[in-house]
Symmetry: C2
Subunit: 402 residues, 2 copies
């Protein structure tokens, strides 16, 4: 794979080189850091110039950055993020749209846009991103690379600017599954495990039904091959069957849970700063914070109850070796500047309906770049049981290199 | 129980009345909020005047505050916290030492000092606190009230100033177990469950061995009574047996895991602000942040590995109806101003050795005010399996009212 220049990629807000702090299993690898995550001595800009101007430089690196440096990897700089991580597109009004080399006329996806671009352009082996509502998984799907969102709470978020703590995670992007697995082991502080065979693999019928027809067609043969590779029983199931709850069938229910809780928590995390600093936002971020402001907060209570219920039901339904299979996103990356400011647009509605499942369930998910539709990448995802990240990543590795 | 005046308690930094936002299961109850947690329109002072001066007022209330208001409870004000929640004593250099009405010459415990005092003084029915390394459980034990630290991640921490996200939780203090349970149900957004009988109740031999002899003697008859009440099998076990790991026997191992990860994360959460704002700290907080600054960060990686290992082993060892039983603290509340600035003093070392177990394991814990030693309260604690908070609280309720 040819490397694209740093300039052409537009992936970085700041390019520098930090050597590893010790030898380790990531020796020789290079990584980038989303500019929502602290690197000592550098300001964390969070994709917004007012944020940059009103926050001092980090005095220590985030724990996740130190973990990769201590495992032998070198840091290559900070990457573009959507403003305050609050978008799935990767079109930053102030810092531009990092290149999606797999589909240059399309967005890279966000909010870990620069991290995905840096990996896809061959500039680094892996990159740290954050994922609350899909910010690692969607860019991975759009750019044709591998992406991992961990079980909620398993990877330290100290030194990472919060958006919605109930959903916030630190994840990884990588060009192949082996590198993803190696990086994840460093973040999970866990040794390699003896590979285990998957139990039941549930194909989420409702999620496939939501996808574009050409996405479904592109993924069908991939699923057939996966059946052989894994030697596993693959059976269609609905979320309603899985959760023993008729309302769970509506993917809109999952999306609404995410949107209501996210908006409630974003207001707590950033409301006071917005009121005091009166930051300039680009049009997409403005629309996002307007959505937050207009939340009917009386819905939060019942929404938390529903979230806890679904989270428990999913955990009960998934044995430690069981997996859910679904498209990462319902569609390939949108064309640049094609999605307006409307968070109720079809694109957001449909994408969040799929990404909210792991979020609501606090479950780990890997997006695998196994297909293309209309000459653009589309990811197939596996979701694992809570805490079973190492198993999930090992299954992904076996699919990448059968 | 006689109510002590607000003035005499010294529990509040700000007294006000917020009516409930709707009717609910907490109708008629009054609660207080630790001044580390946002209440809309009020500044969150975090127990430090420089913090107060450098942060704008909250624009929305934290999700946990809204949950209690929506459940029918009224908010009575903000309570004293140790500076940035970084102490177990409850002696705030700037805002004073809230009264421990059960032992007026002794500290209330921290960092949720004012919340514990407000409950113990009869000023409110329940109070929100935070607990990273014992900040709800230790004040509950010291003041002779009930305290709950939830499973990590189950209660929203949006709108709560972070200290160490890997351990931070929002918990509750209450005068009796029924009120604790009612408040917890509101935060967990969960309905009452059919009571279930406990499975195995493991008495943590190493934890009891660490306690003062008079604490052990005071707790022995309580445990005998509990045996009858619960009709459960109670058997001594060591952490080494429970975790199948000889090193786990050393409670110092658990404390060190907490101290290293806490220090690493505190530096991320507050290091940049300290460097930029140069806050004035009291002597206890100064010593704490000095400890953070001197952390050997090369220890973080192996410490995370050990934490994940113990967390997994504890989760495997505990069935959903199993419980661990231990003293909340190894000693009754220290006399005021008796503990110096030395975080390596015996008091911190021994107390954190016990409180770190639930922290490292991400497990829920309830402290029950069931005994006194030397005329001061001492808590007996139960730790539950992850996510089994409702069951744990129901067991506590059945012990309070057999």
């Amino acid at each position: 794979m040819r490397t694209i220049s740093v300039e052409r990629s537009g992936a970085f807000v700041e390019k520098f080189s930090l050597p590893p702090t010790s030898d380790g299993p990531l020796n020789g690898l290079h990584f980038a850091v989303k500019d929502l995550i602290d690197v000592a001595g550098h300001q964390t800009g969070c994709g917004n110039p007012t944020w940059l101007a009103t926050h001092p430089p980090a005095t220590v690196s985030a724990v996740c950055v130190e973990q990769l440096l201590a495992a032998g990897a070198a840091c290559e700089g900070k990457t573009v993020t959507d403003e305050l991580a609050f978008s799935l597109l990767g079109e930053n009004y102030f810092y531009g749209t990092p290149l999606n080399p797999a589909a240059p006329d399309r967005v890279p996806g966000g909010s870990s846009s620069g991290s995905a671009s840096a990996v896809a352009c061959g500039l680094v082996d892996l990159a740290l991103g954050t994922d609350s509502g899909g910010s690692v998984r969607v860019p991975a799907s759009n750019c044709g690379i591998w992406g991992w969102r961990p079980t909620h709470g398993l990877v330290s978020i100290a030194g990472v600017t919060p958006l919605t703590p109930t959903f916030d995670t630190v994840g990884l992007l990588a060009r192949n599954a082996v590198t993803l697995q190696r990086g994840a082991r460093a973040l999970l502080a866990a040794d390699a495990k003896t590979p285990a065979a998957p139990g039941r693999v549930h194909l989420l019928a409702d999620a496939f039904a939501l996808a574009d027809p050409d996405v479904r067609e592109a993924l069908n043969p991939v699923i057939e091959r996966m059946k052989h590779t894994l030697g596993a029983e693959l059976a269609e199931i609905s979320l309603a069957e899985l959760c023993h709850d008729a309302q769970a069938a509506e993917l809109a229910t999952w999306r609404e849970i995410y949107l209501v809780l996210m908006a409630a928590e974003v207001a707590s995390c950033h409301g006071a700063w917005i009121a005091a600093a009166r930051p300039e936002f680009g049009p997409l971020a403005s629309a996002g914070f307007e959505f937050v402001k207009n939340l009917d907060r009386t819905r939060v209570g019942e929404t938390i109850a529903r979230r806890q219920h679904y989270c428990r039901q999913l955990s009960r339904a998934l044995g430690p070796r069981d997996l859910l299979c679904l498209p990462t996103a319902p569609t390939i990356a949108p064309l640049k500047e094609s999605i307006g400011r409307d968070r109720n647009s079809g694109y957001y509605q449909r994408t969040l309906a799929l990404t909210a499942i792991a979020g609501v369930g606090r479950l780990p998910q890997v997006s695998m770049p196994l297909a293309t539709a209309a000459a653009a990448p589309i990811g197939l995802s596996l979701i694992g049981a809570p805490g079973e990240d190492l198993f999930l990543l090992d299954v992904a590795r076996s699919i990448d290199q059968p």
